[in-house]
């Protein structure tokens, strides 16, 4: 594994995609309607594809996915949060895909080493963001129950959104500007969905940027245990 600056960035973006893809994969067979089984799987597959390209830039994709310990993962805490109900999943999708869309948009235009990947991924992510927006509107402005659930979900995940804008070494971006655009975009969707933009803190009491430094939430360890156990049970085997 080469410890270049861009490797750190590839790990951060790759782990985001890998972990969120895994969480979305947990929906298989549990989605609220069959059409949504197909939609969520499409998003999960796009993300897994992105993860594989990014991790392969750093080393062997499977070694990185299956043999790293929890503290070595660089993903945001947001993407590792359990699925919860459909509203939580959609809120997580809205927050993250808006971020990823802006980020890949910048990288695609930037001419750096992520340009090719970002140019492909930005189209995929644009669709993910649209999917999240459509559902946010429907859940927010649907029934009283769905409104309540969606509002609670937006609030529950709000405190994980500040971390997204901690600069990632190797990505030359205007992070302050990215955050401002993210806030504008998310605010606009929440407004139209008749939801209230949460007012709580955007970061927890821990140091901001925790996930990027390998500090994760408790459920992440169990997620990895499940994801890695088979691979680790057969050291050196091919699959």
């Amino acid at each position: 594994m080469t410890a270049t600056v861009s490797a750190e960035a590839a790990l951060a973006l790759g782990d985001d995609a890998l972990v969120l893809s895994h969480r979305l994969g947990e929906w298989a067979g549990h989605a609220p309607v069959l059409e949504e089984e197909v939609a969520l799987a499409n998003i999960a597959l796009d993300l897994l594809g992105q993860a594989r390209v990014l991790l392969s830039q750093v080393g062997d994709e499977d070694e990185l996915a299956y043999l790293r310990e929890e503290r070595a993962f660089r993903n945001l805490q947001l993407v590792e949060q359990p699925n919860g109900d459909f509203a939580h999943t959609i809120a997580r999708q809205l927050y993250f895909s808006t971020y990823q869309h802006l980020l890949y948009g910048e990288l695609a235009a930037g001419g750096g080493e992520f340009t090719a990947l970002a140019a492909k991924a930005v189209k995929e992510v644009e669709y993910h963001r649209d999917h999240a927006e459509q559902w946010t509107l429907r859940l927010g402005d649907g029934t009283e129950e769905s409104h309540g659930r969606m509002q609670r979900a937006c609030e529950a995940l709000w405190r994980f959104t500040g971390e997204m804008f901690q600069p990632v070494p190797g990505l030359e971006l205007n992070w302050t500007d990215l955050e401002a655009r993210w806030t504008t975009s998310v605010t606009s969707v929440l407004d139209r969905a008749t939801l209230t933009v949460p007012e709580g803190p955007r970061t927890g009491a821990w140091a901001a940027g925790a996930g990027r430094q390998g500090l994760h939430t408790e459920s992440f360890g169990r997620m990895l245990a499940e994801m890695q156990h088979l691979h680790r049970s057969h050291p050196g085997a091919s699959w």
């Binding site: 309607v33 059409e35 197909v38």
Partner: protein
Amino acid sequence: MSTHDWPLWEVFVRSRRGLSHTHAGSLHAPDAEMALRNARDLYTRRSEGISIWVVPSAAISASSPDEKDSFFDPAADKPYRHPTFYEIPEGVKHL
């Protein structure tokens, strides 16, 4: 809990430029926006399309099989609408 079904939509997909939209199948969706998205996810997973139409199934008027005879049979005895009806002397080209 109201378990009323989402309406049914008919999906038409244009597979590539130069071709018409062709009926691909149907699906359920609460509204046109979601119907388009569901159609994209369901019917173009393997790059089968570049453009999609969705139409509420209820909005389609179909000819009835009972009217089949009066609708379609009368066209059968008008062979003069087809080029093969006409005799052209041998050797005449581009006609």
